[in-house]
Amino acid sequence: MKLHLRLIQFIGLIVPQRLRADWRQEWEAELRHREALLAEWDKLNVRNKFELLWRSFGALWDALWLQPRRWEDEMVQDLRLGVRMLIKHPSFTIIAVLTLAIGIGANITIFSVVNAVLLRPLPYPNAEQLAFLWTESPQRNIKERSSAYANVADWRTQSQSFADIAIFDPTVVPLTGAPEPELVVSVGVSANLFSVLGVTPMLGRTFTVDDAQRRVVVLGYGLWQRRFGASSNIVGQMVEIDGAQAQVVGVMPERFQFPDQAAQVWRPTLAGEAEKNKRDRGFWRVIGRLKAGVTLAQTQTEMNLIAERLAQAYPDSNKDLGVNVVPFQLQLTGRNVRLALWVLFGAVVFVLLIACTNVANLMLARSLAREREMAIRMALGAGRMRLMRQLLTESTLLALLAGAVGLFIARFGLPLLLRFSPPNVANLDSVAIDGQALAFAVVVSLITGALFGLLPAWKVSQSHLGAALKDGRSASGSISGSRVRGVLVVAEFSLAVLLLSGAGLLLRSFLQVQAVDPGFDATNVLMLGLSPMSNRTPEQIRVFYQQVSERIAALPGVESAGLINDFLTGGNLDALITTERDAANGAEPARVPLSGDGVSGDFFQMLHVPLRKGRFFDAQDTPDAPPVAIINETMARRFWPNEEALGQRFKHGAAQSAAPWLTVVGVVGDIRRQSLERESVPQVFTPHAQSPSRRMDLLLRTKLEPTQLAAVVRNEIRALDSTVPLTQIATLESQFAASGAQRRFQTWLLTLFSALALLLAAVGIFGVMQQTVALRTRELGTRLALGAQPRDVLRLVIGQGMRLALCGIGIGLLAALWLTRAVAGLLFGVTATDPTTFVAAPLILLLVALLACYLPARKATRIDPLLALRQE
């Protein structure tokens, strides 16, 4: 054949098959016609030959230009075929789609939460430049303490990393006047706070430096809506805060929540003269904005240097003190919540991986069944690439379908999840399935499709044409196929054991926390905070509270009532206590974390706090009587470990401080007021009469359902003093439960996910064993015919399955031992290598695997040898 015609033949190979014959004919005819013409004119000279060759070479461009048609046509074909396959095998389609949809749905749900809480930028311009600055004291394991004014002033002048630094101090203030007095969180701020945050008010203005001397406030959106009817001419009006008038200068927009959503009033504040030189013990919280381009690490390094300088210059106050720079977003979310969310996200990714493995398994099983179909198509000229693409199209279709169902699951799962979510997670209210979640769903579906589709597609490309054609069930293909499926089962079990151990650790922690004795009885206890007006004298306040506890205790349905400064307080992380002995020896005061509270009424009796020694407070502890204190057991152990604590004397602060010496008259059991997970700290209780304070929490134990009494209690207090602002009234249990909500949330979610993983893994191994038995019917039948007992067959099949399971569990355990260190921060009372968990998790999996293998194995024992052999 002449060269140019040969070239056409060759180039024709890349022309889409459908067009190939026509294409070749057109070019060949044209070339041969030309050849004939030329031959008439002349004997073909080199030049003419070259010209012909050149023209036929041009056919390459023509052929290339036709390439997209191949794609379009075959893609449509693939899709059509794919849809047909999915419809033709509804049970396969439904199982695969549901399996994947559960995985994808869980991913979308958790992604939405992760996205809103961790990823979505805060509503401040360049929020990544904002960071909190805390005083830290590594030696006493204190990471985030508020700071003293003089230190912050030095940070501000010496640091080059920050564009500006602002300070603030949230407190609870009574909002008095019409319609009803209430307690709100008011934040004293330096005038530059709003500019550091980069926010502007919705109405009016924020503060200027001159405002520090004036009584002006900026209101939060919520308070403005609720209490001031969203009045647009609120700016310039007066509001009554703690009995004094203050002018509203601005209202912040709805999304502004600083430092958290509780804050509703901001007022300018200025450090008093006495405070300006104070380096020891401050109450300021600090936020700064980094200069553009400055990294957090650079800032931390610089602040470390500044802290060192200050420690050298002021050793008395600043020795061992550091500065801890925490990004705003991290501060807002909290390390624990962040960790928990990433762990949950990791868990759902694992669940999805297991789901993918399962579906890959299903696809493999089916592609083995389809081997003959594939072989025929290949024999008819379909390339391996083409078949692989066909399978990938099918898997992508499946995955997208599953993605749609997954979105549907997430649509209903998310509200359910949010209902059980802990109440104190920032930005949780903005969680929704939005555009980003949709995009995530699509991407995850596509990746999923590729993940579980690639393996079967690859298998097809490996299969042997001849063998498959000869016999519907090609021996070679099936055996190597089941080997691949075995690997998949191993992978599944590894992932499942990983999830199960993680969940086990959290579950054990949860149970440990539940087993902690809070030291008091919170059932049927109501709590509310009150704070009389500032113009009341201490005596008036004392009388008021005495009347409150007496009248509330006398209410029908109330068993007893008591008062305490602040029930849920965290106390002082770094308090000073001087014992009489230390004072006599001239020793330094002890630095301890401590909570000191005034109590009155039958506080201890009401909460069922056990008295270990001495007595409770009573009527003899009047303002004029010698000052007394009740301490908890931790305090007694800390200061008087081997001697009688009763009768000992100590004081708050240093020996020379003006605080009175307190005599220990009683020792009570430890109570964990904030959270079950916090170790009890030394606690000092003083009688309210001897240490009067304005703001108190009222607690009362009821004989009935406590919430029924809420209104009665409010009215009773109002009747005593209608100007007293109250907080919300709530049961102590609900207040206390909030602190455990996060643990409950993360534990149950992870347990749910690992249960899903377990289920999927069980289905996976069941499917594989089922098929193995089907493939080995003949062999097993022969064995039975040759005298094997059903028990032997049972052992054979189960043994094969358990080998896979054991292998997976082993790999998974190793991975788990390494990976569960990541959740160490979420554990309580167990170590990351908790033996119970690491024995129980594999055991559960083994049991499930045994069950999943038993069913196919039992089927294997019932093979009729005659039938099996006749299959030949």
Partner: protein
């Protein structure tokens, strides 16, 4: 390629077709365009409905001991597109491509 916008070379090909040059190689001869341009252009024109392709009579092909050639002819749309192209490329109208007398036999092969 938009339906209403033809490149200069495609316009020339239309003009050649109009003048009776209906085989790919003849078009190449008369326009001087290379095969790598002419053929993809013809395929596109066909896709857009500006030209139709047909196979020549078997009998002719048999005489030359080769397969039948494919020829292209303008559709009504193709003629309209050519008219529009001519108004755009006025030089093209003045380019007098010779008229081909040897039109193929219009019959399916």
């Amino acid at each position: 390629m938009g339906k209403n916008y033809l490149s200069y070379s495609v316009a020339i090909i239309l003009k050649a077709l109009d003048n009776g040059y209906q085989y790919g190689f003849d078009i190449m001869d008369v326009t001087g365009l290379p095969s790598g341009t002419v053929y993809p252009a013809l395929r596109r024109l066909e896709e857009n409905g500006f030209v139709l392709s047909k196979w020549e009579k078997h009998t002719i092909a048999q005489q030359e001991a080769r397969p039948p050639r494919k020829y292209y002819e303008l559709t009504e749309e193709g003629r309209a597109a050519l008219a529009e192209a001519l108004s755009r490329y006025r030089l093209l109208e003045q380019t007098l491509l010779p008229v081909n007398e040897n039109k193929p036999s219009r019959q399916e092969g």
